[in-house]
Symmetry: C2
Subunit: 249 residues, 2 copies
DNA sequence: CGCAGAATTGATACATCTCAAGCTGGGTGG
DNA sequence: CCACCCAGCTTGAGATGTATCAATTCTGCG
């Protein structure tokens, strides 16, 4: 099992952790990290695997180390809405709550750094640095959710697609450092259907709008997933956002 | 000015405060409250007044004491989306951020308990009870925002209206104690246009769907704002929610 | 009384959904 | 190595829900 191999190869020290400086542990001092290190454990999931079902008892919280996961809500008749996209360093679970409120699914192969909830909560109570960082991250998520509310409530299908693409592009560029103008290249981490669930559209509409953006020269496609953005500002324009600064985070 | 009268009449001790047990100060001990008391001040706003404009420098945070305020986002071309409804005890502002991210508007006459940001942040750092409570409240808001994402992305106009009505009704009933079955009565705190901005609809569609719910006997109207719900379960049914339990908060 | 803001109602337009058919590319088994 | 298969995707045609534009009607108030 490749999984076991991954698990061991990833059971690293926090000091080497790729999300060390962004995750919930970002502000911890060496001694605090040492305590976290004692209660942490890694888990791997394969692409497509459901990590948690909404309503399930959940006795751990976790940070995404590598890979991408989604948070979705489903109505009785099957309508689905994605309510969060979890990237490396994002936090999963809610201290003080027994059951999961959403389905959590691994979109790609995924590694999470888990903490059993009880010990984590105890540590939170005694370690302000963790609670502080979690508050900061939660406030950021709340802002992101509210930006998404504007998208879902008021944007057109084309604007929704352009917004999603520019968010993904920005993140990729962010990792690759600096506000790169000129052409940007990235891979979509989501299927058309997942994009539709995120944007409150049908997968057909997603497909059509991507084709339209391609026809209009805003993006280029290589295969189904590989996107080339020749002019990032032009894409942002299509998203309908205030394109002032935008470097708050 | 009635405002000055309100200000003085409301400059009460925290111990008598109507939101004492729900607001950001809920967990504070007597000595902590005493410190808060020294840095707090009340402000009143009239219905319709804008409290903060998005992008403005914001040098205070606050709790809503009485009245209702809204958080809205506006696109360049005027499309508006409400991203939050602030009720008594809700918190306004974000520690650690310089400028407001949304427009904040008083929907009714409003009284807020304000703290200058700097002293509040200092207190937060030294008073875990405040940070803990703020984290809890922020997580609740995040859940609410995500529920709203499902509404905005996937619900029909009729379901949106029914959802909003049942949320408002539930809150009113909540204040009036216990899960009252039988008929529920309340006043809409929002105009049709505000409802539309909250629900991602036009005001005409809001009006039509309210009329439709009335015609179908799900609600009754007295005037434009006074709503009678003869059978609350029937209303919840129309909202399309999983109507299991639902008593998590 | 009459005005103004709020709400309702009607007729039509249009964006997106729905249903349906076909395409594409990578993996698999014969 | 080829043929097939299938999930993911694209494209088309028509249906439908909501927006848009436009008249009224209500309601409270100066």
């Amino acid at each position: 099992m490749a999984i076991h191999h991954d698990l061991t190869s990833l059971a690293h020290e926090c000091a080497d952790c790729p999300i060390r400086h962004r995750a919930v542990c970002a502000r911890c001092e060496a001694d605090e990290l040492a305590r976290l290190e004692q209660i942490k454990y890694y888990r791997s999931y394969q692409a497509g695997q459901t990590i948690i079902w909404s309503g399930d008892r959940m006795d751990f919280v976790a940070s995404v180390v590598t890979g991408i996961a989604t948070l979705t809500q489903t109505m009785e008749d099957g309508r689905r809405q994605m309510v969060g996209l979890l990237l490396p360093s994002d936090f999963v679970g809610r201290p003080g709550r027994l059951t999961a409120a959403y389905d959590v699914t691994a979109t790609t192969d995924l590694v999470m750094c888990c903490f059993r909830k009880k010990p984590f909560e105890e540590m939170m109570a005694s370690t302000p640095h963790i609670a502080q960082r979690l508050l900061e991250m939660t406030l950021d998520e709340l802002d992101a959710a509210r930006e998404w509310m504007l998208l879902l409530g008021r944007k057109t299908a084309r604007e929704k697609i352009a917004s999603l693409l520019s968010i993904i592009a920005r993140r990729d560029v962010g990792l690759k450092k600096g506000p790169a103008q000129g052409s940007i290249v990235f891979d979509l981490p989501l299927t058309r259907e997942e994009m539709a669930d995120y944007l409150g559209l049908t997968l057909e509409t997603v497909s059509r709008q991507i084709s339209a953006l391609k026809k209009d020269g805003v993006i280029e496609l290589e295969g189904k997933r590989h996107i080339i953005v020749p002019n990032f500002d032009a894409l942002v324009e299509q998203a309908g956002d205030d394109n002032d600064g935008g470097f708050l985070v």
